[in-house]
Symmetry: C2
Subunit: 386 residues, 2 copies
Amino acid sequence: MSKNPLSANFRLGFLGGGQLARMSALQAFRYGIQVGVFSDRPENEPVQFMTPHSQTGSFESADDLSAFARSCDVLTLENEFIDSDVLSRAQEASGTPIYPSPQTFALIENKLIEKMTFEQAGIAVTPYALVEDEEDLKSFGTDHGWPCLLKSSKGGYDGFGNETVRDLEEARAAFDRLGGNEGRDIIAEAFVPFTHELAVQVARNETGHVVYPCCETVQENHICVALKTPAPVDPSIQKEARRIAAQAAEAIDGKGLFAFEFFLTREGNLLLNESAPRPHNSGHYTIEGCITSQFENHVRAVLGLPLGSAKLRRPAVAMINLLGDSKRDAQVDQALDALRVSDGHLHIYGKLDSRPGRKMAHYTLLGEKLESTYEKARKVTQEISI
Amino acid sequence: MSKNPLSANFRLGFLGGGQLARMSALQAFRYGIQVGVFSDRPENEPVQFMTPHSQTGSFESADDLSAFARSCDVLTLENEFIDSDVLSRAQEASGTPIYPSPQTFALIENKLIEKMTFEQAGIAVTPYALVEDEEDLKSFGTDHGWPCLLKSSKGGYDGFGNETVRDLEEARAAFDRLGGNEGRDIIAEAFVPFTHELAVQVARNETGHVVYPCCETVQENHICVALKTPAPVDPSIQKEARRIAAQAAEAIDGKGLFAFEFFLTREGNLLLNESAPRPHNSGHYTIEGCITSQFENHVRAVLGLPLGSAKLRRPAVAMINLLGDSKRDAQVDQALDALRVSDGHLHIYGKLDSRPGRKMAHYTLLGEKLESTYEKARKVTQEISI
C-alpha cells in the first residue's frame, strides 16, 4: 500500500458489521481514518450506525465484494466465513489489498488444513481426523474413545457447527446434521480432558509482532462467558502459550490480529484448539486492560503501521460477556452499579435486537488481584439484563 | 429523560461536528448509543464521517435546530457560540432536552455575565470591566495599567475575539476591530503576570460530580500547544484549583463536562480566567491518562448516568497538540516514531484540510516523571507534520 493510511479520506473497509468490526472501527476513527462496511444484512448492523459508507451484498459474490473494495483503500474481515477464493478474486479485481491476506485465510478457513498447517509448524493440536463415513467414525472412536467432537471443517462458530457425541449412534446422527452426507468435510476431534482453556492474541505485520498476555476463557455451553487475565496458571505455561501463539501467527504468515485458543491438559500440555484471523472475544479485555488494545493493533497491523505495546495496565483484568436474555428490543437495565465501580468499563455493541445467548455487551474490570477482581466483576454484572 | 439511554436506537445529537464532538461520539458508540450531528457546514466535518445521521442548517435558527432535535433523544454542544435563547426555543419546540441546559449557557455565553456569576459565587476572577467608550478604556488603563486585554464578550476562541493592547491608541483600534462601535459588548481584562496557566475539568449531573486532576496548559500565541499533568505546582495549589472548579460548575448548575482555566499569579493566587461548557482541549490527556476520560464522563453526564473515576492511570501525562503546518490536504507524516513509543497515543481528528495552526491531532504520553515524559513527548512529535 503506497498511500499513507494517516491521510485525509483514507478508508478502511470491513467485511461484516458486527461488534468486532465496530470496536475496530472505533480505533480506525481514532487515527482519523474513514470506515466503510459491507454486510449481507440490509440494515441495523452495529457498524452501519457508525458510518455513511455502508454497502450490502452477498459474501459469496466476488463482484459484490469488488464493488465495495473499490470504495476502500484496504479491506479487513471480522469473521472467517468468506471463501478465500472469493476474497482472492475480489482483491484481484479491485486492486484493493485485503488483510489478513486471502492466502492466510486459505490456511485457516478449513479446520483440516488449519490443523495440518500448525502441525507442520511443530505445534501440538487436539488429536483429530477427517471422517468421511461410518467406518471412519467408528475407528476414531476406537482410537480416541468416546465422547468426541464432530466439527464441520468450515463455518463453525461458538458451538454452531460443532457437536459432542457420546457414541457411534450419536456420531452418525451428528455427521448427518453437520452435512457429512452432503459432501461437507467433517473432522472428528478427541475429547481432551483439560484443566483450563487459554487464549492469546498476536498482532503481526511487516514491522514485527506483538504477543498479548495469556488469558483464561471461561466457557459455558461452548460460549465464552468470561475472561481472566493473566490466566491463573503457572507463568511457564503462560509463556509457552504465548510462544506457540507467535509461532502459529508466523506459520500462516499473518498480517493482522490473530487469536489462538488452547487446551491446557491435565498433564500440563498445551494443545492448540482454535484460531481466529481477527480480533476475538478473548481479547476484549485488552481495550482497557492493555496499553494497546487488540482492536488498535489490528488496525495498525492491517495498515502496515508499527504495533503498540500489549502490556497489561494493571495486575489483573476480568471481562464478563453480557448475553441477551430473551427475544426483545435491546435495552441494558440494572447497569448503573457496574458503571459506578472505579475502573469498571461497560461496552455495548449497539445491536437493536436481543436474543437469548446473543453477545450484546461486555464489562471489563481492572484490579490488583485476579480472583477478587473476577468475583467483583461477576457480582456487579449479575443483575444486568439485556 | 425517561427513556433508558442504554436502549436500542437511543440517539445523542451533537450541535457541531468537530473534534470535540467526534471524541465524545466515540464514547457514545461505546455505550451502543447512536450519534446524530448538526452542522452549518454541508460536509466533511469530522463527525459527519462517523454517522449516517447528519443534518445541516443554521446555528442561529431555532427551527433548524428543532428539526434536528426531533431526530434525537438528547442534544449536547461542542461549542458555546449558539445563542442560549435559540437553544431554549429549540428545546421547547422539539421537547428534546439539551445539556448543558440553555440556562447554564445563558450564564456562560457572555463573558460579562460569566464573570459576574462566578464572582457572586465567591470565586476570584481576572480583574475586568465592561468598556463602552474611550473614557472607559482610559480609566481601565489607569486603574490596572497597560498592557491589558480587550475581549469581545461573545464568541471568543483560541485568541480570536481577544486582543492584547499596549496603550490607549491600540485599545481604541482593537475596540473598533472587535465590534465595540457596532454595539458589541467589549470587556477589558487586566494583564495578570502569571507563573502558570492551569486547567481543571469537572463532570457534573444529578448523580454527583467528579473533578479531574489539575493540569498545566502550555500556550503559544494564545493557542494551547501542550499539557502537563499533574501541573508542576504545589499540591495545595492543585487542590485549590480543583475545589474552585467544582464550585464553579455548581455556580452555573452544570450538567455535562466543564473546563475551567486559571492563572496562577506570581503571588500564588488563583484567578479563574476562562470556562467552557463542554469537553476541552485541556482534557484531551484524560483519554488514556485517566480511568474515565472527559469525553466518557461528558456522555455519562448529559445522559444522567453515574460518573466514572477521574483518577490518573500513571503518575505523569503529557499531551502535545499537533497543529497544521500549511494549507493542504491533511496527511500525518513522520508519525511512526511516536507510534512506536510504549504508552504513546496518537489521535487524529479526520479533518480533510490542514491549515497553519489548525488543531488536527494530538499525542498523549503516559510516564513516571512529568518532565522526562513531557520532554520525550515533545521529542517524538517534533518531526510530525500535518
